[in-house]
Symmetry: C2
Subunit: 270 residues, 2 copies
């Protein structure tokens, strides 16, 4: 660690995406974790325990921070309908109030940029339409050789509260960027299992899979992107055979090209 | 009132838009008001006092309702930056939790459709760009004869928390429509003064003005739209000389054509 390293505050470092990007961040930056329960392997002064649902509680953690990587979220989504009543309060608290508090604390502390983990769930409704439906079911013989990939500029189609809350975060980011000096880059991260491997026998997970190496590269490039990239939305996705999210925009703007594919990790390539 | 009239529950009936559409609704429907303080001129059984921030409190009001017109919102926006700290809690309570509660109560009660009052504030950031900036400043000699009007499908550019909260409502509507039988139509209503007249000497208000007659027609057509119009987003705008919001989509889908223009109401036409 040197004096001129960026100080990077990460929320949700203990989660699956956090685990995936942590080595790449620690190699380059002075990493500070902000979480409710603390994370393993960081000295106390860089292992801050506070609740993002309470603005005043988290504000001190933002002092001297160059970039915030905001991963923390409540994501307990199983069935589109099943989770509603049970979890609106958690979505409201952690994803809506929490994200507002992270952005607001970043602004007040003079943070340069926030990298916000959005989600493919912002577009989960497309899975009802062909050929995405067939792909996620593994009905590959029913998928045309050429099909249109989704772009982040397509109309949003959230199919659960988690996806709605991520769109809220993106729109809130738009407002902060529109009205302040803060820069916020939104990453619609795909399926990023904690062990870095796509799930065997799960065509949906294999289609939206993003490897630790690929998501780490995307996050680092988002941190390092030049000043004129004040706001944007990118997919985080590996170069999977059956992917349907277009990463070309991140190649154009950030120079990010995924180097992995779900098939590289599978017992027998499909 | 006849037995086969639709029962229409209106939140925010006492506000400016509510005042504008009330005669047209009362002419056609059995109108029920839901508000914290009650509204004037309705019998007690159709003048329900409850707080939309509390789901359990409002649920009984939705029984037997065909359509909900959801106008209630906290909108105290003056300067884009000035209102933040002061009002996030109000936006969160009234616009975010309130709108979630209205949609959820509608779903649980088997309501057919919600007409949701969104806002042009979802795109307020465009006012920084030409020619919208010049138009809203009244610098008409700097506006080209032909310019592009904004469409509801354009990228959102909220410039205050009110606009962000309206985008949240639209995205939440998308989710309900995606995953349930509920239909929700979103209207990005322009400047609708309580007295039905554009503000003299205010080019911005005159550009985004919508008359009582025009907004009432749009709301009635949204209520009456056929079943296959399950979700959509329309601007509510009169045919003002300097408008920059494209209403053609509402003409195509709903047959709505504004009949007024800000200039009709002004002392000297500009």
């Amino acid at each position: 660690m040197t004096m001129d390293q960026r100080r990077v505050l990460v929320t949700g470092l203990g989660g699956a995406v956090g685990a995936g990007i942590r080595p790449a961040l620690e190699e380059r930056y002075e990493v500070v974790a902000l979480s409710r329960g603390g994370v393993e392997g960081l000295p106390p002064e860089r292992n801050i325990r506070a609740d993002i649902a309470v603005l005043e509680e988290i504000e001190p953690a933002f002092e001297g921070v160059d970039t915030v990587v905001h991963l923390a979220a409540y994501g307990g989504v199983n069935s589109p309908r099943g989770m509603w009543e049970a979890s609106w309060e958690e979505v409201l608290r952690n994803n809506i109030s929490g994200t507002r508090n992270v952005f607001e604390a970043a602004l007040r502390a003079g943070v340069r940029r926030v990298v916000f983990a959005s989600s493919g769930a912002t577009m989960g409704g497309y899975l009802k339409s062909s050929p995405y439906r067939e792909i996620t079911r593994g009905e590959y013989d029913r998928v045309p050789a050429e099909y249109r990939m989704l772009r982040t500029s397509d109309e949003p189609r959230p199919n659960n509260l988690y996806g709605v809350s991520k769109l809220f975060g993106e729109d809130l980011a738009r407002m902060y960027v529109e009205t302040t000096e803060l820069s916020i880059i939104c990453l619609r991260i795909g399926g990023c299992p904690a062990d870095g491997r796509p799930r065997e026998g799960d065509p949906w997970n294999q289609a939206i899979f993003v490897s630790h190496r690929d998501v780490a590269d995307l996050v680092v490039r988002s941190i390092e992107a030049p000043e004129d990239v004040r706001f944007d939305v990118f997919f985080g996705i590996s170069d999977n055979r059956w992917r349907f999210r277009d990463y070309s925009h991140s190649t154009e703007v950030l120079g990010h090209v995924p180097r992995d594919a779900a098939e590289d990790f599978l017992g027998d390539a499909t």
